[in-house]
């Protein structure tokens, strides 16, 4: 008799979902917590990721933490450090040409060759970018409205956008396939990329020592352009989903750096592992039916805002993730460009205000609402249940609809115009990314394709602007979004990394919650502590 006490990795789902989430990051600096230690075997770096890569072809792969599978073998044009800094990699410098953030130019390094020996030049980069744009990978829609890519000379690449793109440099980093350069041999036969890497990176993929879905092995690339930055002979990325297994492996020295989990955090700390964290998900109550097509109550802005005030975020965060969850009152996380640093801003818990708004809207007695959620990213749907319970306080009876079949099914259901409300996290390193996510029509954040001219106008201006002017516009957009209450933030959760004693250099930040082990400069890379 079979005894299916199996437990397929929930973390694996997280990984898949994270790819879908488009969580990315821009230039900026910030704080982080660091891990470190001393001693150990310097020749092999053992890493962990909760899920298998969607593809080893950078144009088809995912982003976020899963970029590690391509990052080890491919260099991006621009490197985003753990602290969130944009660092020259294959590109030595970059900038917009002219005003309006529509033309972007990069100067390339001239001493780099691909692992098969062919030179990395502007033509190669253009070919790689053009391949990326037509390959149909999941990230192609996230790199802005690219109209053309051209080599203006041997070492200069120019990218022209149809609309202003304030984040052009970000989209050239390791998290977006556009800036990850594939060699001509790989472009000629993209399927070959699944068994052998064709990049300029510090390592090459070693298919012979790898087992799909279990362990991915990378060997030192002796032709790498900056040998000083190479720290290890071999890097192994193991796929381990179960948080307990991750902890055990990290505790017993099987992993040097691993993704942690809030459920194992305190034990990891007790075991002497270094812990690095960075805020990542901004869990949100998506009030999708803003026109009241399904649920007329949601058409009223006061009702939506009332829900924003009805949530006791401190209690929810404290109960669900005492160490790592934090209340979130704005659509963008603190310390990011666009966050309004003002006590008056954001949805603070105010039950009276909420009830008042409900009464004003004519719903003093409340109403019923169906809330779609899933148990994969929201384990045991605890967050959704807590939100549902809190809404009960202002008379809203929430019918929780759990889509257990997985994230793709959730997305399908969420975009089917059948649900007026959903629970789903957003993630983004600046206002452009966040709003791209939560305002994009046809997505779970906006299935009914709502638009608000005021927000559009503010963002349009912001995308073409720079510096403080852009920040001001972002904050105005943020305030407008708070007023609209289309998306009600609830809590933020963290990405957690466990780091062995003898590893140093692991940093993460709200700007880059998914740091990478390799870097074009030795002091940015994960390295033996000596």
């Amino acid at each position: 008799m079979p005894r299916p006490t199996l437990r397929p990795s929930r973390r694996r789902w997280v990984a898949v979902a994270a790819l879908a989430l488009v969580a990315t990051l821009t230039a900026c600096t910030s704080q982080s917590s660091g891990g470190g230690g001393a001693g150990g075997d310097a020749s092999t770096l053992q890493l962990q990721f909760p899920g298998a890569p969607i593809s080893l072809n950078p144009a088809l792969g995912g982003n976020g933490g899963s970029s590690v599978f391509t990052m080890l073998a491919y260099d991006p044009l621009i490197y985003l450090s753990g602290d969130g800094d944009l660092v020259p990699d294959l590109a030595t410098s970059w900038d917009y040409v002219g005003e309006g953030n529509t033309v972007f130019e990069l100067q390339l390094r001239d001493d780099v060759t691909f692992s098969d020996g062919s030179p990395m030049d502007a033509d190669a980069v253009v070919a790689s970018m053009e391949y990326f744009l037509q390959a149909g990978g999941s990230l192609a829609g996230q790199v802005g409205d690219v109209q053309s890519v051209e080599a203006t000379d041997e070492s200069t690449v120019r990218v022209t956008y149809g609309r202003p793109n304030p984040d052009a440099a970000s989209t050239m980093t390791q998290y977006f396939g556009l800036g990850v350069v594939i060699g001509p041999a790989g472009l000629a036969d993209p399927d070959s990329l699944l068994n052998a890497s064709q990049g300029t990176g510090q390592y090459t993929y070693d298919a012979g020592s790898s087992v799909t879905g279990d362990r991915y092995t990378y060997q030192r690339n002796d032709g790498y352009w900056n040998p000083d930055a190479q720290q290890y002979d071999t890097v192994v990325v193991r796929v381990i989903g179960d948080p307990n297994a991750v902890l055990s492996a990290a505790q017993t020295g099987q992993l040097d750096v691993a993704e942690g989990d809030t459920s194992t955090l305190s034990l990891a700390q007790d075991a002497g592992l270094g812990v690095v964290t960075a805020p990542f998900f901004n869990w949100s109550l998506v009030l999708a039916d803003r026109a009241g097509t399904i649920n007329p109550a949601l058409a009223d802005e006061r009702v939506r805002r009332a829900m924003g005030y009805a949530l006791d975020r401190d209690s929810i965060a404290g109960a669900l993730g005492p160490d790592t969850f934090a209340p979130s009152t704005q659509v963008i996380l603190p310390d990011l460009d666009g966050y309004v640093d003002d006590d008056a801003a954001g949805y603070d818990f105010d039950l009276d205000e909420a009830k008042q708004l409900m009464a004003e809207a004519g719903y003093a007695d409340g109403f019923s609402m169906t809330l779609l959620t899933q148990p994969v990213l929201d384990p045991n749907t605890a967050i959704s249940q807590a939100v549902a319970s809190a809404l009960g306080e202002i008379g809203i009876t929430v019918d929780l609809q759990v889509e257990s079949t997985g994230v793709p099914a959730f997305i399908q259901a969420g975009t089917s115009d059948r649900y007026e409300a959903l629970m789903w996290p957003s993630a983004g390193a600046d206002m452009a990314q966040v709003t791209n996510q939560i305002l994009a029509p046809g997505t779970v954040f906006n299935p009914f394709d709502s638009t608000d001219p005021q927000v559009q106008d503010l963002l349009g201006q912001a995308f073409a602007a720079t510096g403080q002017q852009r920040t001001d516009l972002y904050e105005q957009a943020n305030e407008r979004l708070e007023q609209l209450a289309w998306v009600v933030p609830v809590i933020s959760t963290q990405n957690i990394y466990y780091v062995a004693e003898d590893i140093t250099g692991v940093t993460a930040s709200v700007q880059n919650p998914n740091p990478m082990p390799v870097a074009p400069e030795a002091d940015l890379a994960w390295r033996p502590a000596s």
Binding site: M1, P2, R3, P4, T5, L6, R7, P8, R10, N244, L247, T262, S263, T264, L265, S266, L267, D312, S315, I316, G318, A319, L320, Q374, P375, V376, P379, N380, T381, A382, S384, Q385, A386, A388, S389, L400, Q401, V402, E403, S404, T405, G406, A409
Partner: protein
């Protein structure tokens, strides 16, 4: 044609009525405990939803992750909900889901298994094929797909699980039905004009009940385990409605930081599973009719009083004051008491009695072969200075086989069905003669020749199922002869054989006795066999020796009324009116022996003094010694044998 009843009657007097399974289960404390636990769990879950102190869905985030307290007896969960209330509420849906799995499995498997086992033929072939197919289906792969397909619906998942699990049950029911269909009451059903379906429902079904219940309890535990598994997949019943599986899943996700939650959630599942498991075990034991299945009871042997060795050099085996008891559900029951008998070199002693007289028990006790729940509690069996009842383990070396050997009743069951005759025989030869395989092979042929097997080499190569009953009994005798024993205990050696074969075997025993000079203790219920083979007779009735005498004296005129009555029952000697003479009444079972003479209630000569106190053995005319104070032949004084007992 079997008297096995005689052998088993003593081991299990008053087996709990097989008719009432429930009563049988509740007769054991394990069954009662498990049943009570299950009942409490089920009732609590049924009623619990109405009496819980808290709304199982009510959150109190401020009170999250609390360990037990007066307010929350089992603590609170991640969202501050009361664990006890949730467990009670969740139990109902969890148990319903288990019920669905179990029901689907049973409803699907029972008719198919019955049809396959009872109808046989084409139907059986088709069903067996389908079952093969389903058995080979990778349950997990299917379950994963089904669960993603029907996502939230635990009931559908459980139903599919039940469906997949039904294949195994079909096989088991089929086997049980096949066995049950061999039973005569099933044939009898057909002779009542019942259709095959009616027979299956009325007769076969009730016979497979036990095995189905056992399998079902096991499956229920697995189904509960699967539910827990599903919640890890995130495929349990949709939150916030509590289920046990979902609660364990939630607990497991925080097992490191809030381990307490594992205790009540895992605990209630573990308790339910344990109760189901124990219940299944008890049902199995109850239906298996095997006293030792559950580990068995045993008789307390401390304080056993051995009897003194009479020390007569002519006597090979001297049984004195032998008392054997069996441990049963109703306590310790004495089945044989105060048995004295002697076997001298070269003679054949008949041990005669009806079912339940204890004759086989005596034979088994002599060879130390009592079942585990039986033991000698008093007296001794002296073998030339050794008290056989005191031997354990290696102590039997040099006695069993080489001094005393055994020929059992059913020759086909007395041979190991899985090994060749030559191998079984050779094994014994190697043990006794300490010779190699080659020498043993020669001796095996010799032995088979000795028991007058015509083609010994050929027979040695065969398996027991390839030879006839008569041949098998010859082989069994050869096995007993392998160690050149001085006493052969033959326990109803011809009862299972046809008369013509019986005659041959008796002749063979006689010839062997003449050749080797061994003594034979012949256990039998057949006076004809006694007349044919025995010099002396020991008659047992209801656990006691009632008469001991030379065979000639017994046939000429026994001393004990029981012996007389038994002799007169033979259809050869009807009463003048043409009817057969009978003994009125029945043998009292061991737990209902009367005071005084055990036969008094059925005895035409019984008087008041027969039931006053224990009856001693009395020496009578000729060689007769009888346990009777109103014997059929003139009495002498009480005989020495009994008085010598060092009681």
């Amino acid at each position: 044609m079997s008297a096995t009843v005689a052998a088993t009657a003593a081991t299990a007097p008053a087996t709990a009525a097989r008719g009432s399974l429930l009563r049988g289960v509740l007769a054991t404390w394990r069954g009662r405990t498990a049943g009570a636990v299950l009942l409490v769990v089920v009732l609590a879950c049924l009623v619990g939803a109405f009496v819980t102190p808290y709304d199982p869905l009510a959150q109190d985030l401020a009170a999250a992750r609390q360990t037990p307290s007066g307010a929350h007896w089992l603590g609170t969960d991640l969202l501050g909900r009361d664990v006890l209330s949730r467990l009670l509420q969740g139990g109902a849906s969890s148990l319903v889901a288990v019920l669905v799995a179990v029901l689907v499995r049973t409803v699907v498997a029972l008719p198919l298994g019955l049809a396959a086992g009872h109808l046989g033929g084409r139907v059986d072939q088709v069903i067996t094929r389908v079952v093969d197919l389903v058995m080979a289906v990778p349950t997990i792969v299917i379950l994963l797909s089904v669960l993603t397909l029907f996502g939230n619906d635990l009931l559908i998942g459980m139903a599919v699980f039940g469906l997949l699990g039904s294949a195994g049950l079909v096989r088991i029911v089929r086997g049980a039905a096949l066995a049950a269909s061999q039973e005569l009451h099933v044939t009898a059903g057909r002779l009542m004009g019942l259709s095959r379906r009616q027979v299956a429902v009325r007769h076969v079904l009730s016979r497979v009940r036990g095995v189905v219940i056992v399998q079902t309890t096991l499956f229920a535990t697995i189904a509960l385990g699967v539910q827990t598994g599903l919640s890890f997949l995130g495929l349990g019943a949709p939150p916030p409605e509590p289920t046990w599986g979902g609660m364990v899943g939630e607990a497991a996700s925080v097992v490191q930081s809030y381990p307490w939650l594992m205790v009540p959630t895992g605990g209630v599942i573990a308790i339910t599973v344990l109760a189901l498991g124990v219940l299944g075990d008890v049902v199995r034991d109850t239906t298996a009719d095997r006293s030792s299945a559950s580990g068995g009871r045993s008789v307390r042997r401390r304080g056993r009083v051995p009897a003194a060795d009479p020390g007569d050099p002519d006597v090979l085996l001297a049984v004195r004051g032998l008392e054997v008891a069996f441990a049963t559900a109703a306590g310790e029951v004495t089945v044989v008491r105060d048995v004295d008998l002697d076997v001298r070199a070269g003679e054949t002693v008949g041990l005669v009695g009806e079912s339940g007289s204890g004759k086989s028990v005596v034979a088994k006790a002599v060879l130390g072969l009592l079942p585990r729940n039986g033991a000698v509690v008093a007296g001794s069996a002296w073998w030339r200075g050794t008290d056989l009842t005191g031997l354990r383990g290696r102590g039997w070396r040099g006695v069993r086989g080489s001094q005393i050997a055994l020929v059992a009743q059913d020759p086909l069951r007395a041979l190991d069905p899985t090994s060749r005759i030559g191998a079984q025989l050779g094994e014994l030869v190697r043990v006794h003669d300490r010779v190699g395989r080659r020498a043993a092979r020669v001796r095996v042929v010799e032995l088979l020749e000795q028991v007058q097997v015509i083609d010994p080499a050929e027979v040695a190569r065969r398996y027991p199922h390839e030879i006839s009953g008569g041949m098998a009994q010859r082989v069994a005798i050869a096995m007993a002869l392998a160690g050149r024993p001085r006493l052969l205990v033959a326990d109803e050696p011809t009862t299972a054989l046809d008369v013509t074969v019986q005659a041959e075997v008796l002749d063979l025993l006689r010839a062997l006795q003449a050749e080797t000079g061994m003594a034979i203790l012949l256990v039998t219920h057949d006076w004809g066999v006694v007349a044919d083979a025995c010099e002396r007779v020991v008659v047992l009735y209801a656990g006691e020796v009632v008469e001991r005498a030379d065979a000639a004296d017994v046939f000429a005129g026994p001393g004990h009324p029981y012996t007389r009555a038994l002799l007169d029952c033979s259809p050869d000697q009807p009463a003048p009116d043409g009817t057969l003479r009978t003994v009125p009444g029945t043998v009292p079972p061991p737990d209902a022996w009367p005071t005084g003479c055990h036969f008094a209630a059925r005895c035409p000569r019984a008087q008041d003094d027969c039931t006053q106190e224990g009856i001693p053995m009395v020496e009578l005319a000729g060689s007769r010694v009888a346990r009777c104070i109103h014997p059929l032949v003139p009495a002498g004084q009480p005989v020495g044998l009994t008085l010598e007992r060092s009681r």
